[in-house]
């Protein structure tokens, strides 16, 4: 009954949303406000537009070679060894990105709820949860994402709606502050949140109707980007630009301050935290799955279980490198990883598309070849 091409367009969109929405919901408002002040919402929107270009590039590549893996077509486009080097760098970047994500998650958990639990333990628990299920097939991966998408989306919208009465619209003005270099910093600091779009490269070869992938990518990115924009707007409208800069995780503070009508739960922060744990799990799960699958394609084996086992200590090790939260956000490692992420995961696919067009690929009939 199970054939390999089972992922539907809705599942693909859900995967994309879940891979993008994650840790960023908590700290993105601060990044954006630090970069652009009250211009943060506009900068976020422009940033999302830039992400669209990158997503278009990745989708275009996948659609041009619908049966091949990223390893195969990047080797075809820029040559065997360059292609492999690119994939290798991408994997390293992803391992570091996943590690930092994991660390950030456990730091938040440690600060917000589990004051006495060592961060190593809370990190290990969620990493194990992700690693265990990377052993399953990509179809299961799609089911898991589809299932959790509403659990991330609906509470998010409810919390955003409940916080509207607290808006102070003065905080949103002036809307347009045209300082290009500020915008540039803003965009580069938000782009790493969207690294998850790379997941498209592994799911396109498994899609039931590869023709619908562009639609799925568009909706996925639009919805995820929309959530980010709303988060930034509501954080800014509640706290104002100056206060926001002093908050480590503004969205968490706001969710805690939201009151539920009916008075049956004293504070909503915990509900938000549950949603957020699910969101982070899906993101880590996606990153892990990307690494495992790209590694499998790089080594051209069928079995990917071995990789999920070996990656576990690697990702965990990376997560434990920063000594504290300050290093986690301001340290050299985070900066390098973010830059590399923007360049190799989001920028490089565009370069590949250009080279592909220049070389006139894919040649007729070559797209049918599969591993």
């Amino acid at each position: 009954m199970s054939n390999s091409r089972e992922i539907t367009a809705v599942e693909a969109a859900a995967i994309l949303i879940n891979s993008v929405l994650g840790i960023g919901i908590l700290n993105m408002p601060r990044f954006m406000v630090e970069a652009a002040g009250t211009g943060a919402p506009i900068v976020t929107i422009i940033g999302v537009l830039f992400v669209f270009i990158s997503v278009w590039g990745i989708t275009k590549l996948g659609m041009s070679f619908p049966t091949q893996s990223i390893v195969q077509y990047s080797e075809r486009i820029i040559g065997k060894w360059l292609g492999r080097a690119y994939i290798f760098i991408a994997i390293i970047v992803f391992i570091f990105a996943a590690g930092l994500l994991l660390r950030e998650f456990s730091e938040v958990l440690n600060t917000a709820v589990l004051f006495e639990t060592p961060i190593e333990v809370s990190a290990l628990v969620i990493l194990f949860l992700a690693a265990y299920f990377t052993r399953d097939s990509l179809n299961t991966f799609a089911y898991i994402h589809l299932f959790y998408a509403p659990f991330i989306f609906i509470p998010g919208i409810i919390i955003a709606a409940l916080s509207i009465p607290k808006y102070n619209y003065l905080y949103l003005q002036p809307l347009f502050r045209v300082e290009v270099n500020e915008w540039f910093t803003g965009i580069t600091s938000m782009a790493p949140m969207f690294q998850g779009v790379f997941v498209l490269t592994i799911i396109i070869p498994f899609m039931k109707q590869p023709g619908l992938v562009m639609k799925a990518s568009f909706w996925g990115t639009a919805l995820a980007g929309g959530v980010y924009v709303i988060t930034v707007i509501s954080a800014l409208a509640i706290a104002g630009p100056e206060e926001l800069k002093t908050m480590m995780w503004p969205a968490l503070e706001h969710a805690r301050s939201v009151e539920v009508p009916g008075n049956f739960l004293e504070r909503l922060g915990i509900v938000f935290l549950i949603t957020w744990v699910i969101a982070v799990f899906t993101t880590i799960f996606s990153y892990y799955m990307i690494i495992v699958n790209v590694l499998r394609q790089l080594f051209r084996t069928q079995d990917h279980r071995m990789f999920s086992f070996f990656l576990f200590p690697l990702i965990f090790g990376v997560a434990m490198i920063p000594e504290n939260v300050v290093q986690l956000y301001k340290g050299e490692m985070a900066k390098i990883v973010n830059w590399m992420g923007v360049m190799f995961l989001m920028g490089f696919p565009l370069l590949l598309v250009i080279v592909m067009k220049l070389r006139g690929l894919p040649l007729k009939g070559s797209g049918k070849k599969s591993d």
Binding site: S2, E11, L114, L129, T140, Y143, I274
Partner: protein, 524 residues
């Protein structure tokens, strides 16, 4: 070898079942053929079965001319039937035949065509098959000088009558349940679906028990790949005794280590037919009052037949209640532990004070308290299952009321904990399928421990793990969480609520039925 095969093919009208029986058994006396000497035959069969008190051998002379012997197991047949339907016609010459005719022609066609009034008669030339036939309740007639013997289906086994099912009770709906005999069960199904598309295939399973196993499906609805998969998995079973459908379940399920049931045991013919019409396959086993339905999806385990026989609003409401009970039965104790131990600030203030007051004298942390009481509850539940009804109800009153009350008064636990445990236990009884409620009973414990260690984070991680596991399960190739993930709009109408039949015009797509249309309009 070749010679023997050729001989087997010469059989007049052998039954398929008999073929199987003779080929699967290899008794010590080998594949011995029926010999012409009657005394030798009697001796041979007597050696094998003579020790048994219920084994009967009766020698007679057919039409006063041919010596013959009748063998049967008195415990498996209706003796009056043998007297009237077999002995009498064999001894008395039919009126339209003369004695000379009998002497001139072969006696076997005459007996088969004119004497025996029985509908299921066949000829057999292998001794092993004859012995097997006697053992399942057939009567064997061996005739002097003939290399073939008659076997007549006279099986008549004591059985209970068709009664209301014990496990899937409904308030409004049919009162019939399966019984142990497979013939009756097949009849109950045929009665509800008298259609030539409804197909029942049988096979024998179990090296020693040779139990009849039937595969039922509806041609043109059930996807043939599922039928083939079921047949293939059944054929791989190699076991000495097939005692119940539960044995087969464990051999054909996809994941033996999952707490979740991957097959559905139905005791009701009407729900079995309902499932067959959705494109499932039912497996019946002789001796078991349950039909095994595959493939299953999770949402079946909180649905009942009544959802479909009662009206839309009622059916939907009771189903929502059951989903709620399912959620309660798994998360309430762990939520309670995590809130008490880690996030008491989530309770509204007055309630938080009450909780703290109740727990003032309790010597254990919340997680230990809840684990102890949950453990006690499980012991109580297990104890009452085995007891006769009268004692059972008395015990549950003693156990629940008195121990609960005393535990609170002794300062052993807080009253709110008792409320939580009681709510959980009662909720778990609201799950209609025992095997599914059992999965949740087991999973409650790791969740409580996670809650005690990590608070709400632990509960969330635990629930994510359970969901991920359910999402990765498959039953005969069908994803367990269908039609939620992978999504299917048509199937979603029958998940949490039971939509009106006018909305559910198509069969659920996750079973890949060959014919999608379920409800049509006559006007078209």
């Amino acid at each position: 070898m070749l010679f023997r095969k050729a001989k087997k093919n010469r059989k007049l009208n052998s039954k398929q079942g008999a073929d199987k029986a003779s080929s699967t058994s290899a008794p010590p006396f080998g594949e011995k053929e029926v010999v012409e000497n009657l005394d030798e035959m009697i001796e041979l069969i007597f050696q094998l079965l003579g020790e048994n008190a219920d084994f009967v051998t009766r020698e007679l002379t057919i039409f006063g001319e041919y010596r013959a012997a009748v063998f049967f197991m008195s415990s498996l047949v209706d003796q009056a039937e043998i007297h009237q339907q077999i002995m009498k016609p064999l001894m008395i010459l039919p009126d339209d035949l003369s004695f000379d005719e009998i002497l001139q022609t072969d006696i076997i066609p005459i007996i088969a065509n004119e004497s025996l009034y029985h509908s299921e008669v066949s000829l057999e030339s292998s001794t092993a098959a004859l012995v097997d036939a006697i053992l399942i309740g057939e009567t064997v007639v061996v005739i002097e000088g003939k290399r073939q013997a008659f076997r007549i289906d006279t099986r008549n086994i004591a059985k209970r009558s068709v009664t209301a099912p014990e496990t899937e009770q409904v308030i409004i709906g049919p009162r019939e349940g399966f019984i142990e005999q497979i013939e009756t069960n097949m009849g109950l199904l045929r009665y509800r679906l008298p259609n030539r598309a409804f197909c029942i295939k049988t096979t024998k399973l179990g090296k020693l028990t040779k139990t009849t196993v039937a595969i039922c499906y509806v041609k043109g609805v059930t996807n043939q790949k599922i039928v083939q998969e079921v047949e293939q998995r059944l054929s791989q079973i190699d076991i000495d005794a097939t005692l119940d459908v539960g044995t087969i379940e464990q051999f054909i399920e996809d994941n033996s280590f999952s707490p979740f049931p991957q097959t559905y045991l139905a005791e009701r013919p009407d729900s079995t037919i309902g499932n067959l019409m959705e494109g499932r396959v039912a497996i019946l086993v002789d001796g078991s009052p349950f039909a095994l339905l595959v493939p299953v999806v999770f949402n079946q385990f909180y649905q009942t037949m009544e959802d479909y026989t009662s009206r839309f609003l009622l059916g939907s409401f009771t189903r929502v209640i059951r989903v709620l009970a399912l959620v309660f039965s798994i998360v309430v104790p762990s939520l309670y532990v995590s809130l008490i131990s880690f996030n008491p600030e989530l309770f509204p203030t007055q309630f938080a004070v009450a909780v703290a007051g109740g727990r003032a004298g309790v010597p254990f942390p919340a997680v230990i308290e809840v684990l102890l009481l949950e453990g006690a509850m499980e012991v109580l539940r297990e104890a009452t299952i085995r007891l006769p009804t009268q004692i059972g109800s008395a015990l549950s009153i003693v156990g629940v009321l008195i121990i609960g009350q005393a535990a609170v008064e002794a300062g052993f636990s807080s009253p709110i904990t008792i409320v939580v445990i009681a709510l959980t236990t009662i909720s778990s009884f609201a799950t209609p399928v025992y095997s599914a409620s059992f999965a949740f009973r087991i999973l409650r414990f790791p969740l409580i421990i996670l809650a005690g260690r990590f608070g709400l984070y632990g509960v969330v991680i635990g629930i994510l793990f359970i969901f991920n596991h359910m999402l990765s399960l498959r039953s005969f190739g069908v994803p367990y969480m269908s039609p939620v993930a992978p999504g299917n709009a048509q199937g979603m109408k029958d998940v949490v609520i039971r939509s009106p039949f006018q909305w559910m015009t198509k069969r659920p797509a996750f079973l890949h039925p060959l014919d999608r249309d379920r409800v049509g309009s006559k006007d078209e």
